[in-house]
């Protein structure tokens, strides 16, 4: 057995985060390709602070390629870098296309799949986001029903209490319904004031005759997008209609932001509000 000390590779020193392809690969000092061993580990590829799958895969792919060709040189590096850059650009285009499709309410686009199972076919962020989007869409349609159900239950409770007090309450079936005029719709008229330098679209689902409303903020599906906090919900003086005021900061990323309108006292959901900022 050799009595030479075991060769250990120096710990790489991070001097700066790697943010672009040009400084993606850093060997320990300037190196002549011929001086590198054919062993992929000893080829001197130290990758610091990998910030993207493509960067990580690129370096590992160079190792795999190195093991095959036996030599790392600038030509190999440039080839692999270029290839990874191209495929990552392509995947980003696909993500943007899928985002645009989701924003149009088209549901799961061709690039958004259901949750995965098993190693090697792992759950992607797109899949989780799609689940959340489906949840919000489901909840958005459920909230008005929920509001109606709560009102019905509340009405039944009032009538039950009234009966307990000896007051004769009419059967539920013949309970008086709100009179519908020609201008009555299923949803409350809402006044919206938006301060924004970009095109925005607001959708509000709110049943009529609800009072004492509040809204906490609007959230995007993508966790990296900050919430919209400059939002208030009051009653417009004079008209008694809900008044929503929203200010969209210049730096707010484009996309869809949603929030639940709740009863200020009970905290029960009453409706939803979605704001879409165009790019």
């Amino acid at each position: 057995m050799s009595d030479r000390p075991r060769v250990r590779r120096k710990e790489p020193e991070r001097t700066a985060p790697i943010r672009d392809w040009s400084n993606m690969f850093r060997g320990p000092g300037a190196q002549d390709a011929a001086a590198r061993s054919t062993d992929s580990d000893a080829a001197g590829l130290h990758v610091n602070n990998l910030t993207a799958d493509g960067v990580a895969n690129g370096s590992a792919a160079i190792s795999a390629s190195t093991a095959q060709t036996g030599l790392v040189n600038e030509e190999a590096r440039a080839g692999i870098e270029a290839a990874y850059r191209i495929i990552e650009e392509h995947l980003q285009e696909g993500r943007l296309a899928a985002e645009a499709q989701r924003g149009r309410g088209g549901g799961a686009g061709p690039t958004a799949f259901a949750t995965a199972g098993g190693p090697g076919v792992g759950i992607a962020a797109d899949s989780i986001q799609e689940m959340v989007a489906q949840g919000i869409r489901f909840y958005s349609s459920l909230a008005p029903l929920w509001a109606s159900l709560v009102n019905s239950i509340a009405s039944a409770a009032v009538m039950r209490d009234s009966a307990a007090d000896g007051i004769s309450a009419p059967p539920i079936a013949s309970a008086p319904m709100p009179r519908r005029s020609a201008t009555t719709t299923s949803f409350a008229p809402v006044v919206i004031e938006i301060a924004s330098t970009r095109m925005t679209r607001v959708t509000v689902d709110l049943p009529p005759h609800v009072q004492n409303l509040t809204i906490g903020g609007l959230l995007a599906l993508e966790p990296e997008k900050p919430p919209l906090r400059e939002i208030s919900l009051t009653i417009e003086p004079g008209s008694n209609r809900p008044l929503v005021r929203i200010r969209v900061p210049e730096s707010q990323p484009p996309g869809a932001y949603s929030g639940v309108i709740v009863d200020g006292e009970s905290g029960e959901p009453r409706g939803t509000l979605t704001l879409r900022i165009e790019a």
Binding site: A61, A83, A98, A116, G118, V121
Partner: protein, 342 residues
């Protein structure tokens, strides 16, 4: 990567035969035959490697499906591939396909074009009938993938044709890869593997699964295909040096332009600026000799090996956690086979 796989030809034969047998059921056997349906049947029945269909079936099986679960999609892939080949041959002015004259050379452009259009429509039928075996949701998901693939393929073809029309030669390797990604990789490797994965997992794959592996495998395949066009023997099936006659923007041609002296570039641009029928044997021989002189063939060969290395790496990421099987081994050995085939 020095051992030539025997598993790959074995599975290509097995799944290829299965696909070819099933494919016949979709080729209409009615009038008009002489001017339509006989032409429609020609390319699918001429044979071919059946690589695309085999990738689809093998991926589905590697992920737990039965081969017949993926057979309809495999048939659709081969029918669509044949349809696009008919159109490609017209667009490229190719004279040979799978060892015989191209369809438009045999029957004229109008009939060949119509046959290609019909074959495109015929390729939809297996996808529509898929729902019985796979369920409506999964069948529709595969249709969506097919639409995406078809559009990207058309975009890639448009890129390459546009370069030729505009006589653009001052391209770089990245331009070539972008074009190949769309023109070749989506139909040849990415889509078949993703469709197989959708079937094998019942649509439970991540959004970007297998795209990187498919890209590197497909790029390796295309570069090797371009090399074979210049160096292969008679068994190759296409016209030797056909790509030079067509002025196809291959990695070798792009490299040649980049390495040439100014006067040589001028001559190259002049040759490529003419129609195919105006080019001479001397023009083609000169371009071929220049490629040897500037080491363009070796350059592309090294590039193909690098892409293969990246493909193996991506394979390990995409399939690493999946249980070992003959189909999984086939997918891995495809990388080697693609770069070493002749």
């Amino acid at each position: 990567m020095t051992v030539t796989s025997t598993l790959v030809p074995e599975i290509l034969n097995e799944y290829g035969a299965m696909t070819r047998a099933a494919l016949r059921d979709y080729l209409p056997a009615r009038e008009p035959r002489r001017h339509l349906y006989d032409l429609v049947a020609e390319y699918p029945l001429r044979g071919g490697k059946m690589m695309r269909s085999s990738l689809c079936i093998a991926t589905a099986c590697a992920l737990g499906a039965h081969p017949h679960d993926a057979l309809d999609v495999a048939v659709s892939i081969e029918l669509l591939h044949s349809a696009l080949l008919i159109h490609d041959d017209i667009e490229d002015g190719s004279e040979q396909r799978r060892g015989r004259p191209t369809l438009h050379v045999e029957h004229g452009v109008p009939l060949a074009l119509n046959a290609g259009d019909t074959l495109t429509l015929v390729s939809l039928r297996p996808l529509l009938e898929n729902h019985g075996r796979l369920g409506g949701d999964l069948a529709m998901r595969i249709v969506q993938e097919t639409e995406r693939m078809a559009l990207l393929s058309a975009e890639g073809q448009a890129m390459e044709l546009g370069w030729r029309q505009d006589n653009l030669i001052a391209l770089d390797d990245a331009d070539y890869l972008r074009m190949v990604l769309k023109k070749t990789c989506w139909l040849a490797t990415i889509y078949p593997i993703r469709a197989g994965a959708l079937i094998g997992t019942r649509a439970a794959i991540a959004a970007e699964a297998f795209i990187r592996f498919g890209f590197f495998l497909g790029a390796t395949f295309q570069i090797q295909d371009d090399l074979l066009n210049l160096v292969a023997d008679q068994s190759y099936g296409k016209e030797r040096d056909g790509d030079l006659w067509e002025g196809k923007r291959t990695l070798m041609l792009i490299r040649l332009f980049r390495e040439s002296e100014p006067a040589e570039r001028d001559r190259l641009a002049a040759i490529l600026g003419t129609e195919r029928k105006e080019r001479t044997q001397d023009d083609v021989a000169w371009m071929r000799a220049q490629m040897d002189r500037y080491g363009c063939i070796e350059y592309a060969r090294r590039y193909a090996h690098r892409m293969a290395g990246a493909a193996l790496h991506e394979y390990s990421l995409a399939f690493g956690g999946i249980r070992e099987s003959r189909d999984k081994r086939f997918l891995e050995e495809m990388v080697t086979w693609v770069v070493e085939r002749n």
